[in-house]
Symmetry: C2
Subunit: 217 residues, 2 copies
DNA sequence: CTCCTTTTTTTTGAATGCATAATTAGATTT
DNA sequence: AAATCTAATTATGCATTCAAAAAAAAGGAG
């Protein structure tokens, strides 16, 4: 069952702006052109500004007094800090998922896992990273902790713009894959403790950080 | 050095509304009276509504289409989930703080610890809980991870309205105190691993949850 | 008196308006 | 021509206005 899509105008606008930032259309450090975006979206400044307030709170933009919103730069430090927190949240998610995951959810993750392996074999980095990401998200969802899911998704959003652009070294890549094997094994045994500790050591984040660090700031 | 206090009107308003919710002036489930609050704060509806969008994103209020904002109810489940995440974040904070805490920060936490012990001895629950809270916050700050600090503070905000109203049983209370002793010990040794594991087992949250559960929803 | 319908009032969501601050463009001086 | 000062333009922050929706009040039937 899907969540009720509460369509609020400012919410729609926020999502569009988030996309523009993620896609790099709005460059880090650049100002957010209110008027132009209003025309582009066909809305007045009110809902756009409401959206900007939310985005500022989320860390996507910075509000400078009397000079509007600027796209926030993703510094190396912030990126590292974000991954640090996400890793910890994933560890918690793994622990909880071990106890709470449903059979269909497990089956879905297994399916994703084999997909991911296929992408690994064929060397398709883009697809690999996407599927990898979906697995991690699925584990978080399986935690059944709405607050956790919420916070995780928000952090994930923030780093979206540097995601999927990384080049993994083959060493790290193969290690990440073997860790994923262990994760699936732990999940099948519904061993949350084990899954949690694998995830908290899982160096996916570290890999990405090292690969992405140069992109930030 | 304190952060630059960027005073935005909507930010101020958001804080005021948060306070009203925390203090119970705005009851859970009740509607947020825009007009009245505007008069009370002496601002127009624009900044108030901007604040409400942010508060909705933070989980303080819910926005219902064409019927404005309602104060979000803090259900037992949400409360439990929130503490679950906070506990995990504190564990991470402890780990990081062990490696990164500065001498003045440590001294400050030690001072707070003795204060807390004094409140324990004199049976002053209110002051005890407040100081206890300050210690946990100080550890989070000592992690030097801005993202972590940010997320933690936000979650802390959300549960503020049920904080400091709990009645702890003396058993739990004494155990919590002894755990705090161990925490301080670990901090002195700058043993992040140890501190992290103490915090992740620390049942302060559980205690509060059990005491607070009846208050929620 | 209770329940339902219709009208009035209030509230909400979003656009517009306006004063102030910031930016740009142009003029003046060196 | 470079630099500084001034005027025009534009952008921003907040208040106000307006149409549509919801809530409340008044009226009428059973």
């Amino acid at each position: 069952m899907d969540k009720i899509r509460q369509s609020t105008l400012h919410g729609e606008v926020a999502e569009r702006v988030r996309d523009l930032i993620a896609q790099g259309v709005l460059a880090p450090g650049s100002r957010v052109p209110e008027k132009q975006l209003c025309e582009q979206f066909g809305v007045s400044r009110t809902p756009l500004r409401e959206a900007l307030k939310v985005l500022a709170h989320e860390g996507f933009v910075e509000l400078l007094p009397n000079r509007g919103a600027r796209v926030a730069k993703l510094t190396r430090t912030t990126l590292k800090n974000t991954f640090e927190v996400m890793q910890s949240l994933e560890a918690l998610a793994g622990e909880l998922a071990g106890a709470r995951i449903s059979d269909p959810e497990l089956a879905n993750i297994e399916a994703l896992h084999y997909q991911m392996l296929a992408h690994y074999k064929s060397g398709n980095m883009q697809e690999y990273l996407l599927t990898n990401q979906q697995i991690h998200e699925a584990i978080v969802v399986a935690s059944q902790n709405d607050v956790l899911i919420d916070v995780y998704k928000n952090l994930n959003h923030r780093v979206r713009r540097v995601r999927f652009t990384a080049e993994l070294s083959s060493d790290y890549w193969s290690q990440a894959v073997s860790e994923h094997e262990a994760m699936i094994e732990a999940l099948r045994k519904r061993d949350g403790k084990e899954l949690g500790s694998i995830l908290s050591c899982h160096l996916r984040n570290k890999v990405e950080v090292s690969a992405l660090e140069e992109m930030a700031e």
